[in-house]
Amino acid sequence: MSDVRQPALAVEGLTTEFRIEGRWHAAIRDVSFSVARNETLALVGESGCGKSITALSIMGLVPKANGRIAAGRVLLEGRDLTELDEAEMETVRGRAISMIFQEPMTSLNPVLSIGFQVEETLRYHTSLSNREARERALALLEHVKIPSAARRFDDYPHHFSGGMRQRVMIAMALACSPQIILADEPTTALDVTIQAQVLALLAELKAETGMAMIFITHNLGIVASIADRVAVMYAGDIIETASVEALFDHPMHPYTEALLSSIPRVDRDAGELKPIAGQVPPITAMPAGCRYADRCPLRVARCATMPPLVPLAGDRAHQVRCWVRAGDGGQTP
């Protein structure tokens, strides 16, 4: 990956807070990353680490009643989305950035036909006539390989299986050929075989359109197969970011290491399979220093202050947020 290209999307210092019992607590803190055209960035972490909040913050869909973006910028080809008002944001969503959600069973409106729901994206972002929009929507449904799409165009979501619904979601997201697509655990709720089909479809569509993709998952197996780069999140912070190869071969952060050894792998003994001891600290009681310190076997006194995300000497694209590991130049995995 060359870094000279202007990124399709750059997130800088993004902090999103939620009000819990009258006080604001950061759910994600100082999150920065960028993704280039034709690139897939995987955001990885346990549930509750802030992956989805990051995506919703980019989309401007953080619930206003109790949430806010407290700091940072979301730059879409140089334009800061956090500055836009709701009406301007409506013209960005679905056209420049689309999102695919985790739950295909509940993410489609049960009382509207799937054809209409795909068509709708086009209706608000293009000047197509109703008939043209319908034709384009049908073409999209065929493109995502819905069998006999023409006949099923006016069917309702409850007629479709989870995998088929997720295809409909993908068709909706792709309708206006967005520059960026945010996929929030798009295959987690699906059976393994369907999962593989949907992943293959996404990879194929990405290659075809050259869009950038941010793929949110907790499944490292999927990361290896779909992503170019990975950012690992823990308790609202990005703690390590690297190319897929570097991350899998030389994980630097003790949490990444632990994550990798907590998934079963064919090339290792089952005896090496280790769950991570301890708990993620709750959002209302975040420690001031490194948030992983409590669970970390390498903890030193310095961990009581927050380490910065710093690049490794040998690989500038590989960054890690750890006092112990950042210092040794990435020589010891």
Partner: protein
């Protein structure tokens, strides 16, 4: 959709038959010989027997039952004991007034209640929402006759905006409208409270659903998200409540008709009670049962219209 309608119709028929059966037995089981009620306690044996024969009460229960069912289903409700005119024509005289009143109230309730409920849900925990919630609690707390009396006091007796005794003069459409206003507002406002309450709560539920987030993520304008994506789903419990409330509305219309001295089924029922018009009461029960079964049927059909999932069942 057509098969759904046919299915609902087929379900409605046995319900109606069951309700009619209950009406029949309820009236028979009630203590007190109707003959005594008609003739008084001092009546002679012959007079009682004559009344029994007139009413067909001397026949075996089963024969009475079959006879009742077959005449009712042919649309024949019998004669009034007091006026000796067919019950159906007595009912037909006043039914338009009751229908006019309940339908107007229904329209007021939905047209005001739905947007208010939606607005309250969108502005949850803001001033508008609190005002709406207090109003709806108040509306739920008013017995219909109390609110009717207060409206009457305020707008007819104090302000003289409307006639105290609402009488629609034949051939004078204006008098008919002015006679309708206060009673319809009375029933309508109570219904606004019900509709608003359930619209707010179901809207709050729906707004938290994943598919609303999906619609927003597509860049659908907020207004369209509310009115097309959310409302379609939020309407289902609202329809349920409107259907249920129609039962309450029928009861409340009785009270409203009394307070405003308005002709209608309610006044008919109270007059028959006072006059011990036993066959009339039976006929009215049958009418009410019919109305409720029809309302339930319409409610079910509305579900089918709104929710594609229901149509399949």
């Amino acid at each position: 959709m057509l098969t759904y309608i046919v299915k609902r119709l087929l379900v409605a028929v046995p319900t109606l038959l069951a309700v009619l059966t209950v009406v029949f037995f309820f009236v028979r089981i009630a203590p007190g010989d109707p003959a005594f009620i008609i003739l008084g306690d001092q009546a002679s044996q012959q007079a009682i027997a004559a009344v029994h024969q007139e009413l067909g009460l001397d026949r075996p229960m089963l024969v009475q039952y079959l006879d009742f069912m077959s005449t009712v289903l042919r649309g024949d409700l019998g004669m009034s004991l007091v006026t000796h005119r067919p019950i159906w024509s007595e009912v037909a005289n006043v039914l338009p007034y009751t229908i006019e009143l309940t339908l107007t109230a229904l329209v007021i309730g939905v047209v005001l209640g739905l947007p208010l409920g939606i607005a309250a849900a969108r502005h949850r925990n803001e001033a508008l929402d609190y005002a709406a919630r207090v109003f709806s609690l108040l509306g739920l707390s008013f017995p219909a006759f109390v609110s009717a009396i207060m409206l009457l006091l305020a707008f007819a007796i104090e302000l003289h905006w409307f006639p105290v005794i609402s009488e629609a003069r034949p051939g004078d459409p204006l008098s008919r409208v002015s006679a309708l206003v206060l009673p319809a507002i009375n029933l309508g406002l109570i219904m606004v409270a019900y509709v608003m309450r359930v619209a707010r709560s179901s809207m709050l539920g729906v707004l938290g659903e994943d598919y609303i987030r999906t619609a927003r993520s597509k860049g659908v304008p907020a207004r369209v998200v509310i009115w097309r994506h959310a409302l379609g789903n939020a309407l289902i419990p609202v329809v349920t409540v409107v259907g249920l409330y129609l039962g309450v509305l029928i009861g409340n219309s009785v009270l409203t008709e009394i307070v405003f001295n308005r002709p209608g089924l309610g006044k008919l029922i109270v007059n028959s009670l006072n006059q011990r018009d036993y066959t009339m009461l039976e006929g009215l029960m049958v009418i009410y049962a019919f109305i409720i079964v029809i309302v339930n049927l319409l409610t079910d059909l509305t579900y089918g219209l709104i929710d594609p999932r229901v149509r399949q069942r």
